[in-house]
Amino acid sequence: MPRLDIKNASDDQLVRAAQRGRTEPYEELVYRHRDKIFARAFSMLRNEDEAMDLSQEAWVKGWQRLKQFKRDASFTTWMTRIVINLCLDHLRKRKRRATDSLEQIEEEGGGVERRMPVETFNPTENMERTELRAEIDRAMDKLSYEHRTVLLLHEFEGMEYKEIAKSMHCSIGTVMSRLFYARRKLASLLISLKKERQR
């Protein structure tokens, strides 16, 4: 069997080699994708230490389940699903410990988004890409974890309503109303941030 050039091998070649029990190809995969996995954990948890811990946990789980990976999706998609599920479990446990704020209870009950005025102008017009991303990040930080998670799973991970409902252990109707609220709230937050900048 020809020796694998780890540095220049494709993800698929590395995965195949790692599935045979070799750790060096897996180490290369970790090195290539660790930023993305950490970023997803951080965007969900908003805590650097927890994100670091859970992203490492995801790599451990990835190694343990590597033989089950059928390569029907990309390796990064598969790893991202692992870290998302770990983060969702963690957030559920965290939520059980914390007491909901009044605002959050109202958000969960629905109806707040209906009272928000419709914002038709684009609050991020003429903004640099980097600046715009930072602005979105600030606005996302102000959302509850349920709304933020639904939004990022749909917009950044491209997951359908059905997939999100399955991952978050809720109904499709709940996903739809959370997504609706998250979008409307995000629009209103971006406008507030723009007003703050103009002052």
Partner: protein, 200 residues
């Protein structure tokens, strides 16, 4: 606008509606100014989100990060490969459940039956002792079993008044040390205080 209509509008924007339903919502949005405004807002948010996320870059070195993961993998594999406690198979469990008690019971029965037999009660015939026996030539001789001793009970001596003598009744009056305990005194000496008249 009903909440259901708002969510349907959003599902239309996300491409989650079937073709026929999507075309119906599209017509409704075109004809309804309120729906048109809401669709514009939601579409704006979708466009903004396409900008993507703030990229994050980890500062830890490759070796440091990988070593942490490798240590965790080793720790979990050590737990997985720990020798599991040996569980008895179902056959062994069946043996423990039934054969051991039955075997124990059988042993007790054998012991009891041996206790009832006096040692040396069955003696081999004198001719068999110390002699070489040839099964092919010697006829099989059944061992002599002594006749069973019939149990004999002494009849109590009954006097002409129909009373049994004291020696026969007091068979359980053994000389057990009582250490002054009234409950262990012979029955004839015990006095039971009356409940009605405790002074008696």
């Amino acid at each position: 606008m009903q909440n259901e209509d708002r969510l349907k509008l959003q599902a239309w924007l996300d491409g989650e509606l079937p073709v026929r339903e999507a075309s119906r919502v599209s017509n409704w949005v075109e004809s309804n100014p309120e729906a048109r405004e809401l669709a514009k807002e939601l579409r704006n948010v979708k466009v903004i989100m396409e900008t993507g996320e703030v990229p994050l870059v980890m500062e830890d070195s490759r070796e440091f990060y990988w070593n942490q993961i490798a240590r965790r993998i080793d720790a979990t594999e050590a737990v997985v490969h720990q020798p599991k406690p040996v569980h008895a198979s179902s056959w062994m469990q069946w043996c423990r459940q039934w054969l051991v008690p039955v075997g124990g019971l059988a042993a007790i029965v054998v012991m009891i039956s041996n206790v009832g037999t006096q040692p040396g009660e069955f003696q081999a015939p004198a001719s068999d002792v110390g002699e070489e026996v040839h099964p092919s030539t010697q006829p099989i001789v059944a061992p002599r079993i002594p006749p069973a001793i019939e149990p004999s009970f002494a009849e109590p001596v009954i006097n002409p008044e129909g009373e049994v003598s004291a020696e026969d009744v007091n068979v359980l009056n053994l000389n057990i040390p009582t250490d002054g305990n009234p409950n262990l005194q012979p029955r004839s000496e015990r006095t039971i205080p009356s409940i009605e008249n405790p002074k008696r």
